[in-house]
């Protein structure tokens, strides 16, 4: 009874206090519209919308997959259930990194990890044989893109790109990032970015389509590059729906990038893509007219052919969501992997039987064209559910791979050869 009384008293007292601020900001309740909006009138399904997936038990299987805001506990991580080719090993490198996304490693082995949904950028440092995860930025707007150049960390949010100079010296007392570029739209759909420094010492990034499918404004559905000081912006690729992974070929320096194609057309099309940029500023990759290199959009494709647009290097599966891709330049893996592309497929959501959710290896011909694609890490999908979702990779000095998993909030390390006892 005492407890009740106390609760009630505090309810009355504090409740009154809590209500006060609302009185000032309360808005009038919405009134019903005076006239019925014609656009929203109940009508038979328009012909072009027929064939839409029905509302039944399938629908729950083709909704976006939720990514938890709290990371999984270290003992709940799925490394033991993942499969790799013979001779490769996978271990947990660091855990407790909510929504771990893009990875960058500096010359001293400090690992920088971005996030998308939780607004943070982290650094993983080794100290006295122990790994510590430090949050170096928070409250940012989908800071998915990070890149390093000469000790400066660049961070791409939805509507700005900023930098922290000499970041390694400020991990315990990080300064507020300095904005270098903000001529960017604020749309959240596909507003998160991948960020890379090119061989020309410029920053490369994407601005996705602000929708699943629409005619994008001239500011969207493209790749841009800017100088490291934020000046000299130029559009280098057109018609890209959303790009969340790119890297430069170690020999030809050509930009290769993954591209996610539209949803809600069908279970098995269009195909997501691996692209390369041969003619910067000129190449158009098809969106919103042509998807996957071979499928005209049922709404925007009229009057076009897919031959008007740059063909993908490879089709990498419908809805598979290829994200991070990195050319292998290390020495630890067998020589056959030299200059091969490792690509993380985040895995499908808009498909009743999930596919992707793996890391694949793409081998190229000497002319840079597609040769083959094979699985590298599999097992993230169990009983049509994710037990983890791979996002991005980076190479450690010894040639081992770090791989991020945003579903569990963890970073794994992949090595080749006999494990040390």
């Amino acid at each position: 009874m005492m407890k009740h009384a106390r609760s009630l008293l505090s309810l009355g007292l504090l409740g009154g206090l809590a209500l006060a601020p609302f009185a000032a900001v309360a808005q009038p309740a919405p009134a019903a519209p005076a006239t019925a909006p014609p656009a929203a009138a109940a009508a038979p399904t328009p012909t072009w919308k027929q064939g839409m997936a029905p509302e039944n038990d399938v629908t729950a299987k083709i909704a976006p997959v939720f990514q938890p805001p709290l990371p999984a506990a270290a003992d709940k991580l799925p490394t033991a259930r993942l499969k790799l080719p013979p001779g490769f090993n996978i271990e947990v490198y660091a855990s407790g990194i909510a929504n771990a996304r893009s990875l960058r490693i500096d010359d001293n082995g400090i690992v920088y990890v971005s996030s998308r949904t939780v607004g943070k950028v982290y650094a993983i440092v080794e100290k006295d044989g122990k790994r510590v995860v430090k949050t170096i930025a928070s409250g940012m707007h989908m800071p998915n893109g990070i890149a390093l150049h000469n000790g400066t960390l660049y961070i791409a949010e939805v509507e700005r790109i900023s930098k922290i100079e000499n970041v390694a010296a400020h991990l315990d007392d990080p300064p507020k990032p300095v904005v270098i570029y903000s001529d960017l739209p604020s749309d959240e759909p596909h507003g998160w970015k991948f960020l890379a420094v090119g061989p020309d010492n410029k920053l490369y990034f994407n601005i996705g389509a602000p929708c699943n499918i629409c005619m994008p404004p001239p500011t969207h559905a493209q790749l841009r590059r800017i100088g490291l000081d934020g000046t000299g912006a130029e559009v280098i690729a057109h018609g890209t729906r959303q790009v969340v992974g790119m890297d430069f070929h170690p020999v030809s320096h050509t930009l290769y990038f993954s591209e996610n194609q539209r949803d809600w057309l069908s279970e098995d099309s269009p195909q997501d893509k691996l692209n390369r940029l041969v003619n910067p500023g000129k190449d158009h990759f098809g969106y919103p007219f042509c998807h996957g290199g071979d499928m005209l959009d049922p709404q925007f494709g009229w009057g076009h052919t897919c031959d008007e647009f740059v063909k993908p290097v490879a089709q990498v599966g419908p809805h598979t969501a290829p994200l991070g891709l990195r050319f292998y330049t290390g020495k630890m893996f067998p020589p056959a992997y030299g200059n091969a592309i490792f690509m993380a497929r985040h895995g499908s959501w808009n498909k009743s039987q999930k596919i992707g959710g793996d890391v694949v290896v793409v081998n190229l011909n000497p002319d840079g064209s597609f040769k083959s694609m094979e699985p590298f890490i599999t097992g993230f999908i169990v009983d049509n559910n994710y037990i983890g979702r791979p996002v991005d990779m980076a190479w450690m000095k010894d040639g081992s791979m770090l791989l991020s998993d945003d579903y569990n909030g963890a970073v794994y390390r992949i090595t080749y050869g006999p494990q040390k006892p």
């Binding site: 009630l8 009355g12 504090l14 609302f22 808005q27 519209p33 656009a39 939720f66 928070s138 699943n212």
Partner: protein, 196 residues
């Protein structure tokens, strides 16, 4: 004597309060830290206050995620940011589980206009609301229970997602609302709040 009558007065006040304030299910007395929450959001699961959402039967993962966003300053709505600031990760889980056990919000008393309901249902189907929020609009995972949510709160929220004023945890709602105009949003809010 004065002491005793004062005591009686206090108790009668408390009893009156107790009778007036709908309480959480008998099995789950709110933890101390939740009393303040329910003062605005409604201890019965139904909010009586303008623009303050009802939380009854809300999905625990939705509650956890929104409290996380308030705590991290990524969803800005006072006093929620201040209230969420001291919460630990375990608090977020505990509050989510408690909120989920509150009774479902009550539908509004007025009889739904069948024309507007049909219009809202058509919009809901066209834009696949049920794929995440389920056919009965009770939500799943971090997709909230929206059936019988307050109409003013729904309208404010849908408009805020559409304009970008409310940042999403991810961009799902901004993308879903991209093809809808304001007239459609008004109809959807009416339909969801009056759902039977």
């Amino acid at each position: 004597m004065a002491h005793r009558s004062l005591k009686r007065l206090v108790w009668s006040g408390i009893v009156a309060l107790f009778a007036a304030i709908p309480t959480a299910p008998a099995s789950a007395e709110p933890p101390e830290k939740l009393v303040l929450c329910l003062a605005c959001h409604g201890a019965s699961g139904t909010s009586e206050l303008e623009n303050i959402p009802s939380l009854g039967a809300q999905r625990p993962m939705y509650v956890l995620t929104q409290l996380f966003l308030f705590r991290e300053g990524m969803r800005v709505t006072q006093p929620m940011n201040d209230m969420a600031k001291p919460l630990t990760d375990d608090d977020l889980r505990e509050i989510g589980d408690f909120i989920a056990a509150l009774p479902k919000p009550k539908p509004p008393a007025d009889t739904p206009d069948p024309v507007r309901m049909a219009r809202g249902q058509a919009l809901s189907r066209e834009h696949r609301c049920s794929f995440c929020h389920k056919a009965d609009l009770s939500g799943q995972e971090a997709a909230p229970h929206v059936a019988n949510q307050r109409e003013d709160y729904l309208l404010q929220t849908l408009r805020a997602y559409k304009s970008g004023a409310r940042r999403g945890y991810d961009a799902t709602m901004a993308e879903a609302l991209q093809p809808l105009d304001d007239a459609a949003i008004v109809e959807l809010a009416y339909y969801l709040s009056h759902y039977r």
